[in-house]
Protein backbone atom coordinates (compact mmCIF):
# COMPACT_ATOMS: atom_id res chain seq x y z
CA UNK A 1 0.00 0.00 0.00
CA UNK A 2 1.13 3.53 -0.75
CA UNK A 3 0.85 6.57 1.53
CA UNK A 4 0.47 10.09 0.17
CA UNK A 5 2.30 12.58 2.40
CA UNK A 6 1.76 16.33 2.31
CA UNK A 7 4.11 18.96 3.65
CA UNK A 8 3.45 22.69 3.41
CA UNK A 9 4.38 22.93 -0.26
CA UNK A 10 5.15 19.41 -1.52
CA UNK A 11 3.59 15.98 -1.82
CA UNK A 12 5.50 12.73 -1.56
CA UNK A 13 4.72 9.03 -1.68
CA UNK A 14 6.06 6.24 0.50
CA UNK A 15 5.45 2.54 1.04
CA UNK A 16 3.27 1.84 4.04
CA UNK A 17 5.56 -1.09 4.89
CA UNK A 18 8.43 1.35 5.51
CA UNK A 19 6.48 3.01 8.32
CA UNK A 20 5.85 1.32 11.68
CA UNK A 21 3.15 3.72 12.90
CA UNK A 22 1.15 6.68 11.65
CA UNK A 23 -0.43 9.09 14.09
CA UNK A 24 0.25 12.17 16.15
CA UNK A 25 3.79 12.93 17.34
CA UNK A 26 4.69 11.65 20.78
CA UNK A 27 5.66 14.08 23.51
CA UNK A 28 8.21 11.80 25.13
CA UNK A 29 11.96 11.88 24.48
CA UNK A 30 12.20 8.09 24.55
CA UNK A 31 9.90 5.24 23.57
CA UNK A 32 8.76 2.49 25.95
CA UNK A 33 11.90 0.48 25.14
CA UNK A 34 14.12 3.40 26.09
CA UNK A 35 15.16 4.29 22.55
CA UNK A 36 15.68 8.04 21.93
CA UNK A 37 13.07 9.58 19.63
CA UNK A 38 14.35 11.88 16.87
CA UNK A 39 11.79 14.27 15.41
CA UNK A 40 12.19 16.13 12.13
CA UNK A 41 9.84 17.99 9.85
CA UNK A 42 10.01 16.15 6.55
CA UNK A 43 9.32 19.19 4.33
CA UNK A 44 12.34 21.37 5.18
CA UNK A 45 14.50 18.27 5.56
CA UNK A 46 14.00 17.50 1.86
CA UNK A 47 13.52 20.92 0.31
CA UNK A 48 14.89 24.25 1.57
CA UNK A 49 11.98 26.09 -0.06
CA UNK A 50 9.42 24.02 1.89
CA UNK A 51 8.80 25.94 5.14
CA UNK A 52 8.33 24.27 8.54
CA UNK A 53 4.69 23.61 9.38
CA UNK A 54 3.03 24.73 12.58
CA UNK A 55 -0.13 23.55 14.31
CA UNK A 56 -1.31 20.00 14.50
CA UNK A 57 1.09 17.75 12.61
CA UNK A 58 1.09 14.04 11.87
CA UNK A 59 4.00 11.68 12.44
CA UNK A 60 5.36 8.84 10.36
CA UNK A 61 7.16 6.72 12.92
CA UNK A 62 10.01 4.42 11.96
CA UNK A 63 11.56 2.14 14.56
CA UNK A 64 15.26 1.49 14.17
CA UNK A 65 17.35 -0.77 16.36
CA UNK A 66 18.66 1.96 18.64
CA UNK A 67 16.44 4.93 17.79
CA UNK A 68 12.94 5.90 16.80
CA UNK A 69 12.52 8.48 14.06
CA UNK A 70 9.36 10.57 13.77
CA UNK A 71 8.92 12.43 10.51
CA UNK A 72 6.41 15.24 10.90
CA UNK A 73 4.11 16.18 8.04
CA UNK A 74 0.91 18.13 7.49
CA UNK A 75 -1.23 15.29 6.19
CA UNK A 76 -1.05 11.55 5.49
CA UNK A 77 -3.50 9.61 3.30
CA UNK A 78 -3.64 5.98 2.30
CA UNK A 79 -4.13 5.80 -1.46
CA UNK A 80 -6.99 3.51 -2.37
CA UNK A 81 -5.65 3.11 -5.89
CA UNK A 82 -1.84 3.01 -5.82
CA UNK A 83 -0.32 4.98 -8.69
CA UNK A 84 2.13 3.47 -11.13
CA UNK A 85 5.58 4.31 -9.78
CA UNK A 86 8.47 4.41 -12.22
CA UNK A 87 12.07 4.24 -11.00
CA UNK A 88 14.26 7.30 -11.38
CA UNK A 89 16.53 7.39 -14.42
CA UNK A 90 19.78 5.61 -13.51
CA UNK A 91 21.84 8.71 -14.34
CA UNK A 92 19.76 10.66 -11.83
CA UNK A 93 19.94 7.99 -9.14
CA UNK A 94 23.70 7.88 -9.58
CA UNK A 95 24.12 11.54 -8.74
CA UNK A 96 21.77 11.87 -5.76
CA UNK A 97 23.56 13.04 -2.63
CA UNK A 98 21.56 10.54 -0.54
CA UNK A 99 19.37 7.78 -2.04
CA UNK A 100 16.13 8.88 -0.43
CA UNK A 101 14.12 9.11 -3.67
CA UNK A 102 13.56 5.88 -5.54
CA UNK A 103 10.99 6.78 -8.16
CA UNK A 104 8.10 8.98 -9.17
CA UNK A 105 4.44 8.67 -10.07
CA UNK A 106 1.95 10.99 -11.68
CA UNK A 107 -0.78 12.40 -9.46
CA UNK A 108 -3.05 15.04 -10.99
CA UNK A 109 -0.58 15.01 -13.91
CA UNK A 110 2.25 16.19 -11.66
CA UNK A 111 5.32 14.09 -10.81
CA UNK A 112 5.25 13.06 -7.13
CA UNK A 113 8.38 11.51 -5.67
CA UNK A 114 8.48 8.09 -4.00
CA UNK A 115 10.60 8.20 -0.85
CA UNK A 116 12.48 5.39 0.85
CA UNK A 117 11.56 6.46 4.37
CA UNK A 118 13.35 3.60 6.09
CA UNK A 119 16.61 4.57 4.40
CA UNK A 120 15.93 8.23 5.16
CA UNK A 121 15.32 7.45 8.85
CA UNK A 122 18.46 5.31 9.04
CA UNK A 123 20.54 8.10 7.51
CA UNK A 124 19.05 10.67 9.89
CA UNK A 125 19.92 8.46 12.84
CA UNK A 126 23.49 8.31 11.51
CA UNK A 127 23.59 12.11 11.32
CA UNK A 128 23.46 12.29 7.52
CA UNK A 129 21.61 15.23 5.96
CA UNK A 130 21.23 16.83 2.54
CA UNK A 131 23.59 19.78 2.01
CA UNK A 132 20.97 22.48 2.61
CA UNK A 133 19.93 20.84 5.90
CA UNK A 134 23.55 20.47 7.02
CA UNK A 135 24.04 24.18 6.42
CA UNK A 136 20.93 24.96 8.48
CA UNK A 137 22.21 23.04 11.53
Amino acid sequence: MILLIETISRRYLCRQNDVDAVGFPSTADRDDRGRPIMRSQLGPLLDPSDPPASGRLHALTIHLRRRVVELLVVRIDLLAEPPSVVPLAPFLTACLQLPWVTGAALLDEQPVLMLDLRRLATDLALGLRLKHAEAAL
Binding site: D47, A89, C95
Partner: protein, 153 residues
Protein backbone atom coordinates in the same frame (compact mmCIF):
# COMPACT_ATOMS: atom_id res chain seq x y z
CA UNK B 1 16.67 12.34 -40.14
CA UNK B 2 19.41 11.55 -42.60
CA UNK B 3 19.16 11.65 -46.35
CA UNK B 4 21.43 11.06 -49.29
CA UNK B 5 21.58 13.99 -51.66
CA UNK B 6 23.79 13.08 -54.59
CA UNK B 7 27.04 11.93 -53.04
CA UNK B 8 26.70 13.84 -49.75
CA UNK B 9 24.90 12.66 -46.64
CA UNK B 10 22.86 15.26 -44.81
CA UNK B 11 21.40 15.34 -41.31
CA UNK B 12 18.90 17.62 -39.64
CA UNK B 13 19.97 19.35 -36.44
CA UNK B 14 18.11 21.42 -33.88
CA UNK B 15 19.97 24.69 -33.46
CA UNK B 16 19.61 26.17 -29.97
CA UNK B 17 21.13 28.94 -27.89
CA UNK B 18 22.78 28.57 -24.47
CA UNK B 19 23.75 31.98 -23.07
CA UNK B 20 25.85 33.42 -25.92
CA UNK B 21 26.79 29.98 -27.22
CA UNK B 22 25.26 28.44 -30.33
CA UNK B 23 24.86 24.69 -30.20
CA UNK B 24 23.03 21.97 -32.12
CA UNK B 25 21.64 18.55 -31.39
CA UNK B 26 21.20 15.89 -34.02
CA UNK B 27 17.53 15.67 -34.98
CA UNK B 28 17.35 11.92 -34.45
CA UNK B 29 17.93 12.51 -30.71
CA UNK B 30 15.16 15.13 -30.42
CA UNK B 31 11.63 13.96 -29.69
CA UNK B 32 9.83 17.15 -28.83
CA UNK B 33 10.30 20.82 -27.97
CA UNK B 34 8.37 22.03 -24.91
CA UNK B 35 7.74 25.32 -23.19
CA UNK B 36 9.31 25.85 -19.78
CA UNK B 37 7.37 24.69 -16.76
CA UNK B 38 8.65 24.48 -13.19
CA UNK B 39 9.95 20.96 -12.51
CA UNK B 40 9.33 18.99 -9.32
CA UNK B 41 12.65 19.18 -7.45
CA UNK B 42 14.35 15.93 -6.43
CA UNK B 43 15.96 16.12 -2.96
CA UNK B 44 19.70 15.60 -3.16
CA UNK B 45 19.94 16.07 -6.92
CA UNK B 46 22.71 18.36 -8.21
CA UNK B 47 21.82 21.83 -9.61
CA UNK B 48 22.32 20.44 -13.13
CA UNK B 49 19.11 18.42 -12.59
CA UNK B 50 16.47 20.90 -11.36
CA UNK B 51 13.75 18.27 -11.20
CA UNK B 52 11.19 16.17 -13.04
CA UNK B 53 8.41 17.10 -15.44
CA UNK B 54 5.48 15.23 -16.89
CA UNK B 55 5.25 15.33 -20.64
CA UNK B 56 2.19 13.49 -21.89
CA UNK B 57 2.45 10.79 -19.24
CA UNK B 58 6.21 10.33 -19.33
CA UNK B 59 8.23 11.52 -16.34
CA UNK B 60 11.38 13.21 -17.61
CA UNK B 61 14.37 14.45 -15.61
CA UNK B 62 15.28 18.02 -16.58
CA UNK B 63 18.96 18.68 -17.33
CA UNK B 64 20.16 22.29 -17.26
CA UNK B 65 22.43 22.43 -20.29
CA UNK B 66 23.94 25.74 -19.20
CA UNK B 67 25.20 24.37 -15.90
CA UNK B 68 26.23 21.11 -17.49
CA UNK B 69 28.52 22.92 -19.91
CA UNK B 70 29.95 25.22 -17.24
CA UNK B 71 27.97 28.32 -18.28
CA UNK B 72 26.46 30.64 -15.63
CA UNK B 73 22.97 29.89 -14.31
CA UNK B 74 20.06 31.95 -15.59
CA UNK B 75 16.40 32.30 -14.70
CA UNK B 76 13.95 30.92 -17.25
CA UNK B 77 12.19 33.45 -19.43
CA UNK B 78 9.78 33.62 -22.37
CA UNK B 79 12.21 31.95 -24.78
CA UNK B 80 13.36 29.13 -22.47
CA UNK B 81 12.60 25.70 -23.88
CA UNK B 82 12.83 22.09 -22.78
CA UNK B 83 14.00 19.66 -25.43
CA UNK B 84 12.99 16.03 -25.01
CA UNK B 85 16.18 14.18 -25.86
CA UNK B 86 16.19 10.43 -26.39
CA UNK B 87 19.41 8.49 -26.75
CA UNK B 88 19.92 4.75 -26.26
CA UNK B 89 16.97 4.12 -23.90
CA UNK B 90 17.60 7.35 -21.97
CA UNK B 91 15.05 10.16 -22.03
CA UNK B 92 15.51 13.62 -20.53
CA UNK B 93 14.38 17.20 -21.00
CA UNK B 94 17.32 19.44 -21.84
CA UNK B 95 16.86 23.01 -20.62
CA UNK B 96 18.07 25.56 -23.18
CA UNK B 97 17.73 29.34 -23.48
CA UNK B 98 16.07 29.35 -26.89
CA UNK B 99 15.38 27.21 -29.92
CA UNK B 100 16.65 29.04 -33.00
CA UNK B 101 16.07 26.86 -36.04
CA UNK B 102 16.14 23.46 -37.68
CA UNK B 103 19.15 23.25 -39.95
CA UNK B 104 20.30 20.70 -42.50
CA UNK B 105 24.01 20.01 -42.53
CA UNK B 106 25.98 17.99 -45.04
CA UNK B 107 28.49 15.60 -43.55
CA UNK B 108 31.29 17.37 -45.43
CA UNK B 109 30.47 20.69 -43.76
CA UNK B 110 31.21 19.41 -40.29
CA UNK B 111 34.63 20.19 -38.84
CA UNK B 112 36.41 18.65 -35.88
CA UNK B 113 36.14 20.58 -32.61
CA UNK B 114 38.89 23.09 -31.74
CA UNK B 115 41.79 21.54 -29.87
CA UNK B 116 41.76 24.28 -27.22
CA UNK B 117 38.45 23.14 -25.68
CA UNK B 118 38.65 22.16 -22.03
CA UNK B 119 36.39 20.63 -19.39
CA UNK B 120 32.80 19.74 -20.13
CA UNK B 121 32.86 21.46 -23.53
CA UNK B 122 35.73 19.25 -24.62
CA UNK B 123 33.68 16.18 -23.72
CA UNK B 124 30.31 17.30 -25.06
CA UNK B 125 31.22 19.03 -28.33
CA UNK B 126 31.75 16.48 -31.05
CA UNK B 127 32.03 18.81 -34.05
CA UNK B 128 31.70 22.38 -35.33
CA UNK B 129 29.54 23.69 -38.14
CA UNK B 130 30.20 27.07 -39.76
CA UNK B 131 26.73 28.54 -40.12
CA UNK B 132 26.35 31.24 -42.80
CA UNK B 133 30.16 31.63 -42.73
CA UNK B 134 30.16 33.95 -39.72
CA UNK B 135 28.85 31.77 -36.89
CA UNK B 136 30.24 28.61 -35.31
CA UNK B 137 27.68 26.12 -34.04
CA UNK B 138 28.92 23.46 -31.65
CA UNK B 139 27.33 20.08 -32.30
CA UNK B 140 26.72 18.28 -29.02
CA UNK B 141 27.09 14.55 -28.48
CA UNK B 142 23.91 13.36 -26.65
CA UNK B 143 25.72 10.35 -25.17
CA UNK B 144 28.43 12.60 -23.72
CA UNK B 145 25.77 14.85 -22.18
CA UNK B 146 24.28 11.95 -20.22
CA UNK B 147 27.72 10.82 -19.09
CA UNK B 148 28.58 14.37 -17.98
CA UNK B 149 25.42 14.61 -15.88
CA UNK B 150 26.65 11.78 -13.69
CA UNK B 151 30.08 13.33 -13.31
CA UNK B 152 29.12 16.96 -12.57
CA UNK B 153 28.16 16.90 -8.89
Amino acid sequence: MQSLSGQSQTSVYLYVRLAAEHVALVGTAVREIMRWRTPTPVPGAPPTIPGLINQRGQILPVIDARLLLGLPAASPDRTTRLIWVHHEQIDAALLVDAVVDLITIEAGQIEPPPINLVGAAQRAIQAIYRYRDDLSIAILDPAALFVLVQEVL
